[in-house]
C-alpha cells in the first residue's frame, strides 16, 4: 500500500456543556467525536454514515482543522496538523477543501459567482492577473457543468443543484488533494442528488481526488465510496469495504441501517422484515456505559454493559466494534437491487 494521504488517529472532540439551574451548575462534557481512527489513501473515497447527531460533521471539521481535536492527531501527508503554526496551516488549506450540506447557505449572497469561486485564488495568489483569474473561473464553471457566461450572476439566481455545483467549483479551484463533502446531497432532490454524485465521481477520476463523503443514508454513499465507516454516538461501529458493508455487515447497527434502505420495488419493500431497531439515539451527554449501541441492540449481552468494544479485525477487509460479532450472522440475503 502506498503512503496514506490522511491519517486520523484516535481523534476526540469534546465540548464542555453547562447544564442545570442557577444554583446547581453542572459541568458536563459532550463527546461529539470519541476516538475515531482511519486512514485515507490517495484517490480513495471514504463514506461516513450515521444518524443525525452522531458527530459526522464535527469529525469533518476536525479533519479540516476548523475545530481543534481535544485528543488524538490528524496527520496530513505525514505532518501533524496540530503542530503546524497558523501560517503553514493556512498554506495547507490549498490541499483540503469542503463542500457543504446547504448549497445556498454556503455561498455569500452579496458576491457573484465569479467572485465566490475566485476568492481562494485571490487569497493564495494575490499577484494573479484579473483576466487570468476569470479564465480559470470560467474553465472551472465548465468543468462542473455550468455555463461560463453565468459568471456574473448571484447565488439566489441559481437552483439548489446549481449552487452545489458552484460550491464544488470553489472547492476545486485550488486543485486540492482531499475534499470533505459534508452531506453534499441531502438538501437536494433525488434526481439532482444523482447528478451531483456523478459529477463528484467524474471529477474524482479526472483529478485524482480523495473524498471523505458524509451522508446519513447508505444508499447515497454506496455509489461513490470505496470504504464505508459507520458511526454511532461519536464512535466508529464498523469500517469496511463497500461490498462487505452491504452484503456481510458485521455490526448489528450496520445491518439495521442496510435493512432500512428502501428497495425501489413496492412489492419487495412490503415483504421486507422489520429492521428491529427501535427507540432513539441516547443523548450524547449521557452515553450508555460500555458499548454505546447496547441500549438499542437486539443482541446485547451483559458484557456489552461493562466493556467498551474495541475496533478489531474480524474479516480481512473490515474492522468492527462489537464483542459478539462472530456469534451471529447478519448477512443480507436479498440480492443486489440494481
Amino acid at each position: 500500500m502506498s503512503k496514506p494521504l490522511l491519517k486520523v488517529q484516535d481523534v476526540r472532540v469534546h465540548f464542555p456543556v453547562e447544564t442545570g439551574g442557577w444554583f446547581q451548575r453542572e459541568k458536563k462534557v459532550l463527546k461529539a467525536v470519541d476516538g475515531i481512527s482511519f486512514e485515507l489513501q490517495p484517490g480513495e473515497t471514504l463514506g461516513v454514515v450515521g444518524e443525525s447527531g452522531c458527530g459526522k460533521s464535527t469529525l469533518a471539521r476536525a479533519i479540516l482543522g476548523l475545530i481543534k481535536p481535544t485528543r488524538g492527531r490528524v496527520v496530513w501527508m505525514g505532518e501533524d496538523m496540530a503542530s503546524l503554526d497558523p501560517e503553514s496551516l493556512r498554506q495547507k488549506r490549498k490541499e483540503l477543501q469542503i463542500v457543504f450540506q446547504d448549497p445556498l447557505a454556503a455561498l455569500n449572497p452579496r458576491l457573484n459567482v465569479g467572485e465566490i469561486i475566485a476568492e481562494p485564488l485571490k487569497t493564495f495568489y494575490p499577484s494573479m492577473q484579473r483576466v487570468q483569474i476569470r479564465e480559470r473561473v470560467k474553465g472551472m464553471l465548465k468543468m462542473v457543468g455550468l455555463l461560463p457566461n453565468q459568471i456574473n450572476r448571484y447565488p439566489h439566481e441559481f437552483s439548489g443543484g446549481q449552487c452545489q455545483r458552484i460550491g464544488i467549483a470553489r472547492a476545486l479551484i485550488l486543485n486540492p488533494k482531499l475534499i470533505v463533502c459534508d452531506e453534499p446531497v441531502s438538501a437536494l432532490d433525488v434526481s439532482i442528488q444523482a447528478q451531483i454524485i456523478n459529477l463528484l465521481k467524474d471529477l474524482q477520476r479526472k483529478l485524482q481526488l480523495s473524498l471523505v463523503f458524509i451522508a446519513h443514508d447508505l444508499s447515497v454513499v454506496r455509489h461513490i465510496s470505496d470504504r464505508i465507516m459507520v458511526m454511532y454516538l461519536g464512535r466508529a461501529m464498523e469500517i469496511a469495504c463497500k461490498g462487505t458493508i452491504y452484503r456481510r455487515p458485521l455490526h448489528p447497527y450496520t445491518s439495521a441501517l442496510v435493512k432500512a434502505v428502501p428497495i425501489p420495488d413496492p412489492v419487495k419493500e412490503r415483504r421486507k422484515r422489520e429492521t428491529g431497531l427501535t427507540g432513539h439515539v441516547p443523548s450524547p451527554l449521557h452515553p450508555p456505559s460500555g458499548c454505546v449501541f447496547r441500549t438499542r441492540c437486539p443482541y446485547a449481552v451483559e458484557r456489552c454493559e461493562a466493556d467498551v468494544p474495541p475496533l478489531r479485525a474480524l474479516s480481512d477487509d473490515g474492522l468492527v466494534a462489537c464483542h459478539e460479532a462472530e456469534n451471529f450472522d447478519l448477512s443480507i440475503a436479498r440480492s443486489e437491487e440494481e
Binding site: L66, Q101, A105, I151, Y154, G167
Partner: protein, 318 residues
C-alpha cells in the same frame, strides 16, 4: 440547468425544433455573451423605488439639502446682519425678508438655512463617527468572540452607564464651547448602540457556511470581516443609520435648547426653535419656519428608513 435554458433555448428551438442534442445546445451556449446578474443591492434598490413615501421623502430631502447649501447665497442678507429698520418684522416679500426677522433684525430665511447646515452636519458627522467606531468595534468583538468580546462589551456597558448630559457639560467645561465637541459628544454616545447591533449580527453571521468556507479557503480574519460579514450586515446598519440621523439632530436641538449647543451668532434648528418658542405669541413666524424645516427633515428621514427596511428584507414584510 434551468437558469440557462432561457439563454440558449429560444434560438435553437426555432431553428432546429426537435433534434438538437443537449450537448450541441451546451456547446452553443458556451459561446453566448456573459449574462449580467442582479445583486441583492440592485433588487433592494428597485424595491425602494417602488415605495412612494420613500421616493417622495428622498426627493424632498434632496431639495432641502440643496436649499440649505445654496439657499443663503440667494439672499441679499447675511445670517448675522442686523437690519435695524426691520426688527421683529413679519414675513413680507416687499423688504426681502421672506421668513421675517428676529428680535435683533436678522433675516430668518438665511438663519434657518444656515442653522440647517449645522443641524444636518451634526446629524451626518456624528452618525458617521458612530458608524465607523461602532461597526468596527462590534464586528471585531463579535467575530473574535471569547474573552476579547467579553472585555469589549463590558466596556460598552460602562460607557452606557455614564450620564450623557454630565459628559457634555464636562467636555464644555474642559475644552470650551465648540461645534466639534458636539460631534464628539454625540458620536461617542451613539456608537454604543451601533456596536451592540453589529456585534449581534456578526455573531449570527460568523457561523454561516460561507464564512466557514472562507476559513477553509485560508482567507484571513480581516478579509472575512470585510468581504463576508460587513456586506451582509450593512442592510441592518443602513436602516439604523437613517433612523439615527434624526435622533442626533434632535439631541443637538435639545443641547441648543439648553444653551449647550452652538454659540451665537451661529445657529442651528434647535437654537432657532428655542428662540422662536420664547416669542411664540408676538412673532409666531420665528417658531413656525425653523420648526417646519426640522420636522420635514425628520419625517423624510424616518420614511426613508422605513422604506429601506422594507426594501432590504422583503421576507419580514408583505
Amino acid at each position: 440547468m434551468p437558469g440557462s435554458i432561457r439563454a440558449f433555448g429560444t434560438k435553437t428551438m426555432a431553428d432546429n425544433p426537435a433534434l438538437e442534442s443537449a450537448n450541441d445546445a451546451f456547446a452553443q451556449a458556451l459561446e453566448q455573451p456573459e449574462v449580467q446578474g442582479r445583486s441583492l443591492w440592485q433588487d433592494a434598490w428597485h424595491r425602494l423605488l417602488k415605495n412612494r413615501a420613500a421616493v417622495v421623502s428622498g426627493t424632498l430631502l434632496l431639495i432641502l439639502l440643496l436649499l440649505v447649501i445654496f439657499g443663503p447665497m440667494l439672499s441679499p442678507y447675511d445670517f448675522d446682519y442686523t437690519d435695524w429698520d426691520n426688527i421683529y418684522h413679519a414675513p413680507s416679500l416687499a423688504n426681502g425678508h421672506v421668513f421675517g426677522t428676529d428680535a435683533v433684525g436678522r433675516d430668518l430665511f438665511v438663519r434657518t438655512l444656515v442653522g440647517g447646515r449645522i443641524s444636518l452636519l451634526v446629524g451626518l458627522v456624528a452618525t458617521l463617527v458612530s458608524l465607523l467606531i461602532g461597526v468596527t468595534y462590534g464586528a471585531v468583538a463579535g467575530y473574535f468572540g471569547g474573552r476579547l468580546d467579553q472585555t469589549m462589551m463590558r466596556l460598552v456597558d460602562i460607557f452606557y452607564a455614564m450620564p450623557f448630559m454630565f459628559l457634555v457639560i464636562l467636555l464644555m467645561v474642559v475644552f470650551g464651547r465648540h461645534i466639534v465637541l458636539i460631534f464628539v459628544a454625540i458620536g461617542a454616545v451613539n456608537w454604543l448602540d451601533m456596536a451592540r447591533i453589529v456585534r449581534g449580527q456578526t455573531l449570527s453571521l460568523k457561523n454561516t457556511d460561507y464564512v466557514e468556507a472562507a476559513k477553509v479557503c485560508g482567507v484571513k480574519p480581516a478579509a472575512i470581516i470585510r468581504r463576508h460579514i460587513l456586506p451582509n450586515l450593512l442592510g441592518v446598519v443602513m436602516v439604523y443609520v437613517t433612523l439615527t440621523i434624526p435622533q442626533v439632530i434632535l439631541v443637538e436641538s435639545f443641547l441648543s435648547f439648553l444653551g449647550l449647543g452652538v454659540q451665537e451668532p451661529m445657529t442651528s434648528w434647535g437654537a432657532l426653535v428655542n428662540d422662536g418658542a420664547q416669542d411664540m405669541e408676538s412673532a409666531p413666524w420665528m417658531l413656525v419656519f425653523p420648526a417646519l424645516f426640522l420636522t420635514v427633515t425628520l419625517y423624510c428621514l424616518n420614511y426613508i428608513g422605513d422604506g429601506l427596511r422594507d426594501a432590504l428584507d422583503p421576507k419580514d414584510h408583505l
